[in-house]
């Protein structure tokens, strides 16, 4: 019995090795970068390679900054970044860069207040909270916009990201664009120094902090709040209306994005239109303009094209915003232009 099991195992290993053989000859793509879109990219890879077994793709979620570094050093076939790339970083890549907005997400303000199911936060209120000026939940700045909601006399625990991240970048960019005071005191960036609160590592770290602390509020990606069933606040848009984060309101925000010519890099940090959730952002795939190895370049483009079209249908399930059609069209143009 024991030997038969063992020989079976041996056979299985041998079979696996033999089956691997043809795959070794397949095109191998290496990708590295942002952690935020990683679940979606992994899903794309799984689905895509199922349909195209001649390609092997490996994506490592090592963070946007590290992804850009590896991409610049030519260690990967494609990179990924939540903060796109700066002009300086683009200039450092000899083979040229095509920035492709690949998917998008909203950042929500999740909170932990037992008994409070809906919360509307005005711009003054949430800027004040993150600046540490509003310290209690029953502060007039919060109660003013929440008539009929019983807000407790409880301290606010602000929860934030301790690690450098694209989420930080997008959230502080938004706060800086709506509040000169915030811009002056904290500013925007992938790691910022918050004037108040506790910090956790990663979206999951912040989610845990919010869950643990009664009276907590923090910023996390929409998908995390949804998955963990955390309630999140409606935020005031430019016109003064309150908007709930949904895929629709997020997509509406993305559709307003105005890109500069020849470069798909922009942040809709304070959108104008109606029913636009104010904090939504793209995340980018970084592709070389020219590939030394033509088959690799071809395979990368095929994969990215698939992700931009067929791949978008996996977005909503995983908490991402499917790209609006006009953005996908622009991506396709950019992909064709890079040769």
């Amino acid at each position: 019995m024991k030997t038969s099991k063992f020989s079976f195992l041996l056979l299985a290993v041998l079979a696996a090795l033999l089956l691997q053989r043809p795959a070794l000859a397949a095109t191998q793509l290496q990708g590295a970068g942002a952690t935020f879109p990683a679940p979606l990219y992994q899903r794309w890879i799984a689905e895509y390679t199922k349909a195209n077994p001649d390609v092997q793709i490996n994506y490592q979620a090592i963070g946007s900054g590290a992804g850009i570094k590896q991409f610049t050093q030519d260690l990967v076939s494609f990179g990924a970044s939540d903060a796109a790339m700066t002009d300086q970083e683009i200039a450092a890549v000899k083979k040229g860069v095509v920035l492709v907005p690949a998917t998008a997400g909203s950042i929500v303000l999740a909170y932990n207040l037992p008994g409070v199911e809906t919360l509307k936060l005005s711009r003054d209120a949430y800027v004040g909270i993150f600046l540490g000026k509003i310290k209690k939940w029953n502060d007039p700045a919060i109660t003013k916009t929440n008539e009929g909601v019983k807000l407790p006399n409880m301290s606010i625990t602000v929860c934030e990201r301790s690690d450098g991240s694209g989420t930080n970048f997008v959230f502080t960019k938004h706060l800086s664009s709506i509040s000169p005071e915030f811009k002056d005191q904290v500013g925007e960036g992938t790691s910022v120094t918050w004037p108040t609160g506790v910090a956790g590592k990663g979206n999951d770290g912040v989610t845990a902090l919010i869950k643990q602390n009664r009276g907590a509020i923090g910023y996390v990606e929409y998908g995390y709040a949804q998955h963990n069933k955390l309630p999140f606040a409606q935020l005031q848009d430019k016109a003064g209306e309150f908007v709930t984060a949904t895929t629709a309101t997020g997509a509406a925000t993305l559709a307003t994005t105005q890109f500069p010519p020849n470069l798909l890099r922009a942040w809709p940090s304070d959108p104008d239109g109606k029913d636009c959730y104010p904090i939504a952002t793209f995340t980018w795939l970084l592709i070389y303009k020219k590939y030394d190895n033509a088959p690799i370049g071809e395979a990368v483009k095929k994969f990215v094209t698939w992700g931009l079209t067929d791949g978008q249908k996996f977005s909503e399930d995983l908490g991402y915003i499917p790209l609006p059609k006009q953005i996908v069209d622009k991506d396709m143009e950019a992909l064709k232009a890079g040769e």
């Binding site: 450098g164 120094t193 506790v198 956790g200 902090l209 643990q212």
Partner: protein
């Protein structure tokens, strides 16, 4: 040392063919390799840290502002956070650890039972630090939140306990650190206590001392150098601990008197920011790593001094 060590070897070989002493060569290589590795590590920290060392200089150790956006780097809050969390952990773990070691080295219980207890305590060292972090989140944080809340309510006027009591705080991190360093202290202290020659104990009993007098006047002083060594090791472990602390301390770059507020440590800072760091931030983080190495070095040197002193004062007994 070399001349003494060589003497018997050469006398044995007398008359025979003189060969190079391979064992000696091997030990030399091992010793030199470890020193070189340390220098290598230092070099690879100092080189990337250099831009920050030039720019921030000694201000790095006195400034309280760590602001990546404005390229201002001051590590004082993290230095203090590292030192304070380790000190509190040690203050809790040292008495506890030594008492456990005493209990395990005396014959209060049958040997079999003591072996089981010893095994369990030493097993604490085998738990990965991320598991300590998770346990801290699940168990220690709610406790600190609740009782810290009472502390803040009734003793809030004392700066050490001023509220609000956030679960992720200096106190939480220190408590978990204390448990993490406990096995180090217990294991080494027990080993030295057991190694005290039984003649000393018999002598002490012979002149009429009770068991407790023997323990505190003879056994503990004799084992003091070992206990000091255990303390140094534990301190080093507490200062370098990264994962569990980063999960529990709240990672705040602000200085606060309150034990119930979030704080930050050097190791946690590195773990948090290194992944996405760019430009001068990388240098500053390397500088912070250097500061951590220096801090550990200082602790080791102080420990060494205390050890020598302890050895000198207890030399009469041994």
């Amino acid at each position: 040392m070399t001349s003494e060590g060589r003497a018997p070897a050469s006398s044995q070989l007398k008359g025979g063919k003189r060969r190079p002493d391979l064992f000696l060569a091997l030990t030399w290589v091992a010793a030199v390799a470890s020193v070189l590795t340390l220098l290598w590590i230092l070099e690879s920290i100092v080189m990337p840290a250099w831009p920050s060392i030039q720019q921030n200089g000694l201000n790095f150790f006195t400034s309280t502002v760590w602001d990546v956006n404005r390229n201002r780097y001051g590590a004082l809050p993290f230095l203090i956070g590292t030192a304070v969390s380790s000190l509190i952990a040690l203050c809790l773990a040292l008495p506890l650890g030594v008492f456990i070691a005493l209990f395990l080295s005396e014959n209060f219980l049958p040997l079999a039972v003591r072996q089981v207890i010893r095994f369990v305590v030493e097993l604490l060292a085998a738990i990965p630090s991320v598991v300590y972090g998770l346990w801290g989140i699940a168990v220690v944080i709610p406790i600190v939140q609740q009782y810290g809340g009472y502390l803040a309510d009734y003793l809030g006027f004392v700066p050490l306990f001023s509220g609000p009591s956030v679960g992720n705080s200096m106190l939480t991190a220190s408590l978990v650190l204390a448990i993490m360093v406990l096995p180090t202290i217990t294991a080494i202290s027990r080993a030295t206590l057991v190694a005290v020659p039984p003649t000393l104990r018999e002598g002490s009993y012979a002149v009429g001392a009770t068991r407790w007098e023997t323990i505190f006047r003879v056994l503990v002083p004799t084992a003091a150098p070992g206990i000091v060594a255990a303390t140094i090791l534990a301190f080093g472990r507490a200062m370098g601990e990264t994962m569990a602390v980063a999960m529990l301390i709240g990672n705040s770059p602000r200085l606060s008197w309150s034990l119930l507020s979030p704080a930050g440590t050097l190791a946690g800072l590195l773990a948090n920011q290194f992944g996405e760091a760019q430009g001068l931030q990388i240098s500053a983080l390397m500088y912070a790593a250097l500061a951590l190495v220096l801090l550990t070095l200082i602790v080791n040197m102080v420990g060494e001094a205390v050890l020598r002193h302890a050895e000198k004062t207890t030399a009469g007994i041994r």
